[in-house]
């Protein structure tokens, strides 16, 4: 308990502490050369290289004179890199809406406007400095084999009931984000907690059933596929769509009907970028992904324009704006993680 507390404190301090950009912890990096000589676009992103490659290829098809340098890092690393940026990156793409919003709020982004982005809904942008281009729901993944005849839960109360009624079947076979290490997991958890008390019941129950914690959606998806996990809660829907297609027989993707939190992937142009016009072209391209169905298919992203997400009012889209700063408050974060830990690790 104490240990976690200190670890959390450390994590928060790391957010705020300025670290030199050079020490960026890169997960992957790739250069996409241009067909003709021209501008170079440095993208720093949280999206995996293979997921984003179709987008870059499509972009370069439209803009053959632009070479793209794509760097992948975790959302915290991305945030820190921009907070201490020396102008290395021209475009920052992240699934951590809250951290991206904080970058804008604290003045680390520059404004961009074009006719290409006017069709975006109001909640999908803020201050003309941050632009959402995908809608990605948090979903429940179920292994059909592990469920073994039990009815598929369609909402959280169903899920709670099934877990309560079959503790032995699910013990040690439930996975969810470790919100201490995953920015996206933290965002999903905080937004879930705002929507319903059932979130805390679920966390308590999962804690009793020895929930296993993961850093990333891909890990959970892999384990549900292999049958190692029976249920994974709050997995990024787009990843599961992209990764599970060959194994559809075993994995079922469930959008819970009581509410499903929608994450939007956002792009911003760092204030230090001297290449904003080129960055703007990429933002225009991302805002109009719906015109490229092949890319939609390849990435599993759901474009904001022409989104085919169903669920209507149960879709909990998170508005970009200062409200996202609330759960970034260090005391608020400490408190939330404390509460989460005491739910998960109660035994």
């Amino acid at each position: 308990m104490r240990f976690h507390h200190i670890a959390n404190l450390l994590a928060v301090v790391l957010i705020v502490l300025a670290r030199p950009a050079q020490s960026l912890d890169i997960e992957a990096e790739k250069h996409f050369p241009a067909v003709f000589d021209g501008a170079e676009l440095h993208i720093l992103s949280t999206a995996d290289l293979d997921i984003f490659t179709p987008i870059i290829t499509g972009f370069q098809h439209d803009n053959p004179e632009i070479s793209v340098h794509y760097t992948v890092a975790s959302s915290l690393e991305v945030f820190n890199a921009v907070y201490t940026d020396s102008g290395r990156f021209d475009l920052v793409i992240s699934s951590a809406m809250d951290l991206q919003t904080k970058l804008v709020n604290d003045g680390y982004a520059q404004s961009y406007d074009s006719s290409q982005i006017t069709g975006l809904p109001d909640w999908a942008g803020w201050r003309n400095q941050i632009f959402a281009f995908t809608m990605e729901p948090a979903v429940l993944l179920i292994s059909k084999v592990a469920l073994d005849g039990l009815p598929v839960p369609s909402n959280r109360s169903d899920l709670i009931r099934i877990l309560r009624e079959n503790p032995e079947r699910f013990r040690g076979k439930i996975g969810t984000y470790d919100i201490r290490s995953s920015g996206l997991g933290y965002l999903f958890a905080t937004q879930d907690s705002r929507s319903s008390e059932s979130f805390w019941q679920l966390m308590e129950l999962m804690g009793q059933l020895d929930v296993r914690l993961f850093c990333c959606s891909s890990d959970m998806i892999a384990r549900v596929e292999s049958g190692e996990l029976a249920i994974a809660y709050n997995v990024l829907g787009s990843y599961s769509n992209a990764q599970t297609s060959p194994l559809e027989q075993n994995v079922q993707v469930v959008s819970l009907t009581d509410f499903s939190t929608i994450m939007v992937r956002t792009a911003l142009i760092p204030a230090t970028s001297k290449n904003a016009a080129v960055s703007g072209k990429m933002i225009d391209f991302l805002a109009n992904l719906d015109k490229h169905p092949d890319i939609i298919d390849a990435t599993g992203f759901s474009s904001i324009k022409g989104s085919n997400l169903t669920g209507g009012e149960s879709l909990n889209t998170i508005k970009l704006g200062p409200n996202l700063l609330v759960f970034l408050d260090k005391l608020k974060r400490l408190r939330f993680i404390d509460a989460w830990e005491s739910s998960i690790e109660q035994h």
Binding site: N105, L325, V326, D329, L331
Partner: protein, 460 residues
């Protein structure tokens, strides 16, 4: 006659009222701007203060520790108001515990429930800060918590620039409307004055009746004074005309007596010297009574032209009457008069007394300026619309350069110095012809010596 004028009343009215309107417009626009800005400021302050208050209210003590739990709504309400960036800072016991610890909070509220507000610069932007204070107590101690919430001012600036635009537009519209109204008001204020001067200007030269137009009370004294002046002027004019006519009349009778007696004396006197003296007396008496008659004629013409009464006048009879009257005078000077009357009977419309007086003066002039043993020829002709009566003599003629001004009162030709005369004759003729819409033609006769004066009258 030139009148010394100061600035026109209308221009002065328009100018002064426009200045007033401009001042009022500026004041109005300024008030709108100030009120709008204050309202925008109050709105932003209230939202900031409620955000700060909701955060402060959520601070609580839990098992001996202070818990700061920012409500989600605190920031979403700020996000709903505008796209402005949000900063905050929470101090407990004088120490920043969370938020932007370098946020410059200069003003700390003195009492609970009274937020303090300040404006400053932070992270390259102008911000507005609201701070609230809340006393807290844990088991061990009592401390004060200060919650400060700040927002950049782009939303506020957007609102105020909108307000400024509206205020400016309202001010300009107000001014434009006021100027139009001022112009109309000045025009309507000045109209009675114009009406009076138009009424006075439209009068005939001898119309001295009082002004009867309805006038506003402000210019009533002016019109009353004008009317009194006209009454006095009219009386003075009447008196002097009466006096002149009376004087002329009184001179004529004794002069006739002088002339008669002188003629008798001339017949009975043998002395050449005396005869010459008496002849001069007769000539002077003649000239004096002629002048007196002309003065009387002039007075008559003045009166009758003001009240012209037209009737059909047979021209031949008119000429013959004049010839009858003047034939004795001509004979005495040894001057012959021939009249070539027209075949048809010419009729013109006019006042016979005036026409006779005009023709008489023309003929009288011709006789007067003709040398002995010459002939004066009178002729009349018509082209249907106009009747021309010409009187031609064999005298010295008119100096060509002076013909234009000869009809003016008391003006005589420069070569008439040897002859006694008043210069009134052609003035009377001219006045009569103007009243009859006729024309006076003065020229030297084509055959060299002599003058030709023509009276041209309309037939109807």
């Amino acid at each position: 006659m030139n009148i010394l004028t100061t600035h026109s009343i209308r221009r002065r009215l328009v100018f002064q009222l426009s200045i007033v309107a401009a001042l009022l417009s500026v004041l109005f626009a300024y008030s709108v701007k100030v009120i709008g800005e204050n309202t925008a400021q109050i709105t932003q302050d209230q939202v900031l203060a409620s955000a700060a208050t909701s955060i402060a209210d959520a601070i609580r003590s839990e098992s001996g520790e202070l818990v700061v739990d920012i409500p989600y709504s605190a920031f979403s309400m700020l996000g709903a108001l505008s796209d402005d960036r949000v900063f905050y800072r929470i101090d407990v016991g004088g120490e920043a515990v969370t938020g932007y610890e370098d946020l410059p909070v200069e003003l700390v509220p003195e009492s609970v429930g009274q937020p303090s507000f300040s404006s400053t610069q932070y992270r390259g932007a102008e911000i507005r800060i609201a701070s609230v204070i809340r006393p807290l107590s844990t088991l061990e101690r009592s401390v004060g918590a200060v919650v400060s919430v700040a927002q950049t001012r782009s939303g506020f600036n957007e609102v105020t620039s909108g307000v400024r635009t509206i205020a400016t537009a309202v001010g300009i519209a107000f001014f434009a409307t006021a100027v139009v109204l001022v112009l109309l008001a000045a025009q309507s204020a000045i109209r009675p004055l114009q009406d009076v001067s138009t009424a006075v200007e439209r009068r005939g030269p001898r119309d001295l009746r009082p002004v009867n137009e309805k006038v506003p009370s402000e210019i009533a004294p002016l019109v009353t004074a004008l009317n009194r002046l006209m009454v006095r002027f009219s009386k003075a004019l009447d008196r002097s005309e009466d006096f002149i006519a009376e004087a002329a009349h009184r001179i004529r009778t004794p002069m006739a007596l002088v002339q008669t007696n002188a003629e008798i004396a001339l017949r009975t006197t043998k002395s050449t010297q005396s005869r010459r003296a008496i002849r001069e007396i007769i000539e002077a008496a003649e000239e004096t009574s002629r002048s007196a008659r002309q003065i009387l004629d002039h007075a008559t013409v003045g009166f009758r032209t003001d009240h012209l009464q037209r009737q059909e006048v047979p021209v031949t009879a008119l000429i013959e009457a004049v010839l009858d009257r003047l034939l004795p005078v001509a004979e005495m000077k040894g001057i012959g008069i021939s009249f070539q009357g027209p075949a048809e009977n010419l009729i013109c419309a006019g006042d016979p007394v005036l026409l006779e007086s005009a023709l008489g003066n023309v003929l009288d002039n011709a006789i007067k300026y003709s040398p002995h043993d010459t002939c004066v020829t009178v002729s009349a002709e018509s082209d249907g619309d106009w009747i021309r009566i010409s009187v031609e003599d064999e005298g010295t003629g008119f100096p060509v350069a002076e013909i234009e001004g000869l009809a003016d009162r008391f003006t005589r030709g420069s070569n008439a110095e040897g002859t006694i005369g008043s210069g009134l004759g052609l003035t009377i003729v001219s006045d009569v012809l103007v009243a009859h819409a006729g024309q006076l033609e003065i020229e030297n006769s084509k055959e060299g010596e002599g003058a030709c004066v023509s009276i041209i009258l309309p037939t109807s």
